[in-house]
């Protein structure tokens, strides 16, 4: 695998199950055992009821584009060859929103509300990122 130069997540004790889930092809978030709130980013308390008992739940991996942007400026030298690149905010079927990159689609074809599904991108041996593509497969 070629050396991956883009920023990598700072994996903490809180977020480790999330990243381990992605590595094993599961998108998992915490769901409160007491009030059923599902939340992101990972945290120690249910932001709804302050319970500390939760279950890491597997999600569908489907959602829709809530908003998106195109970077025309390379703030990192490691993305210099990728501009213009997209970043999308995807709203999962189950509610929480994630920032991600859309793959298998031209930037010009991205639309708010379009249905998308997760693609697991193993960027290093340790880290897998959650990217998304148009539901039913990308065009390229």
């Amino acid at each position: 695998m070629a050396e991956y130069k883009k920023p990598l997540p700072a994996i903490s004790s809180l977020s480790e199950p999330y990243w381990t889930g992605l590595k094993h092809r599961d998108l998992k978030l915490q769901r409160c055992n007491d009030c059923q709130t599902l939340w992101y980013p990972p945290g120690p308390f249910c932001p709804g009821c302050w319970s500390r008992t939760f279950t890491w739940q597997n999600l569908s991996g489907r959602g829709k584009v809530n908003s998106w942007v195109i970077f025309h400026q390379a703030y990192f030298s490691s993305v210099k060859d990728e501009i213009p690149y997209n970043v999308a905010e995807v709203e999962l079927e189950e509610g929480p929103r994630l920032l991600t990159n859309l793959v298998g689609i031209d930037n010009a074809d991205i639309k708010i509300g379009m249905p998308v599904e997760i693609v697991f991108d193993d960027v290093t041996e340790e880290v897998t990122l959650a990217k998304f593509r148009p539901l039913g497969g990308g065009s390229k």
Partner: protein
């Protein structure tokens, strides 16, 4: 009824700033010292009168309160500092107003001194994205792992959603930058004074699409300072006081995203029709939006003007795009906004340059860009804090 009514108990007694410039090659302590000295001169105070200091933006881009006191030989009874973010302008002034009202200090200098272009490392965006690497995430929706970096990207996310939800356009947003540039043309301190057109805006390159370069603030060096004093002391000083009549704190929580109001649906916000209701700042000051001579807001990106107008009830969600057309927000319009030229065209001094301008407007010191008979001005932000200033 609050236990302790702070309406008009504190006032701005002096304002001052350093030159603003793209590459001043001056230290942030040097710039801060000049701004503080100019503000004290403006108030008719001396260095020995100053016993409080509140800094809104320190390391790594600005001068810190403790090192400033040391370098400038200040003798302080109290100092305070917020972390390096522009959003704390009102918070600092509120804390100063409380401090002088409570007798913790007589005169408090509040300021930011920044060097974005100088010899400090960049903090926001790119390889120095310390903001995006915070535990819990970046304050503007940063997620550098997916290339989501810089405060402007979060604003671009809001702009895209705004355009889609309300059928608004980038072309309409251009009116904000065009208006502020007209204001800057009348302001000798402003960095960008050449007039621009809607076409110039549309033809400027995208930085983070859908935001164009001309939707973005300046990146510069400079310092601006406001002296807050107890009102009875301020009345004895050189200039007429400008009273702090209303204050409202900076909200936070899962229904807040820094670049818009609740209900908008960015980050983890729920989606609902936001209603501004009766915001505490108006209740405290005993006034309404209709009485404002002008509105000032943190315009790091043009879209924030729209979401601020909606948060503060100058128009309903979705209506700001139309509201900002036809010169309504320009000098001479129904609601002039950021008559200094804003962060977009005067300079980016974390909103402290706006406080200087508000005070000068309420004193009638603004020359060709003076608002006729200015009585009340609101500082109100997309992120939900506010001050109402009243002419003394």
């Amino acid at each position: 009824m609050p236990a302790w009514d702070l309406k008009d108990q504190a006032a701005v007694s002096g304002v001052g700033h350093s030159p603003y410039g793209k590459r001043l090659n001056r230290s942030t302590i040097d710039l801060a010292g000049e701004a503080i000295r100019n503000a004290l001169d403006d108030a008719g105070l001396t260095r020995d009168d100053l016993d409080g200091l509140i800094v809104s933006f320190g390391t790594p881009i600005g001068a810190d309160a403790d090192t400033l006191a040391y370098a400038l030989g200040l003798k302080l009874r109290m100092y305070n500092q917020t972390w390096a973010h522009g959003r704390f302008t009102a918070t600092c002034i509120q804390n100063a107003a409380m401090a002088v009202s409570a007798g913790l200090a007589n005169h408090v200098a509040c300021l930011a001194s920044v060097s974005f272009s100088g010899f400090r490392k960049p903090m926001m965006g790119g390889a120095g994205d310390n903001e995006g690497a915070r535990e819990g995430g970046g304050g503007h929706g940063e997620d550098p792992v997916y290339g989501m970096t810089s405060p402007g990207a979060g604003a671009a996310l809001v702009a895209q959603k705004y355009f889609h939800r309300y059928g608004a356009t980038s072309r309409q947003l251009a009116s904000v930058a065009v208006a502020f540039r007209k204001h800057a043309a009348l302001n000798p301190a402003a960095l960008m004074r050449e007039p621009i057109t809607v076409e110039d805006h549309q033809n400027s390159r995208y930085v983070c699409e859908p935001l164009h370069l001309l939707d973005y603030c300046q990146i510069n060096d400079g310092a601006a300072c406001v002296i807050v004093s107890r009102s009875d002391r301020a009345r004895d000083l050189k200039k007429k006081p400008v009273y702090i009549s209303g204050m409202q704190g900076l909200p936070a929580g899962r229904e807040e995203f820094i670049w818009t109001h609740p209900g908008f649906g960015t980050s983890q916000q729920k989606v609902f029709d936001y209603k501004p209701d009766l915001q505490p700042v108006y209740q405290m000051a005993g006034v309404t939006q209709k009485e404002m001579s002008a509105f000032f807001t943190y315009d790091a990106f043009a879209i924030l003007v729209w979401t601020a107008l909606e948060r503060w009830g100058y128009c309903k969600p979705g209506e700001a795009a139309a509201f900002t057309q036809d010169g309504r927000i320009e000098l001479g319009g129904a609601l002039p906004i950021n008559t200094n030229g804003g962060l977009i065209s005067e300079a980016h001094v974390m909103g402290w340059n706006h406080q200087v301008e508000i005070v000068r407007q309420l004193r009638g010191e603004c020359g060709p860009r003076q608002i006729a008979n200015a009585q009340l001005i609101q500082w109100g932000n997309a992120y939900g804090d506010s001050l109402i200033y009243r002419k003394g």
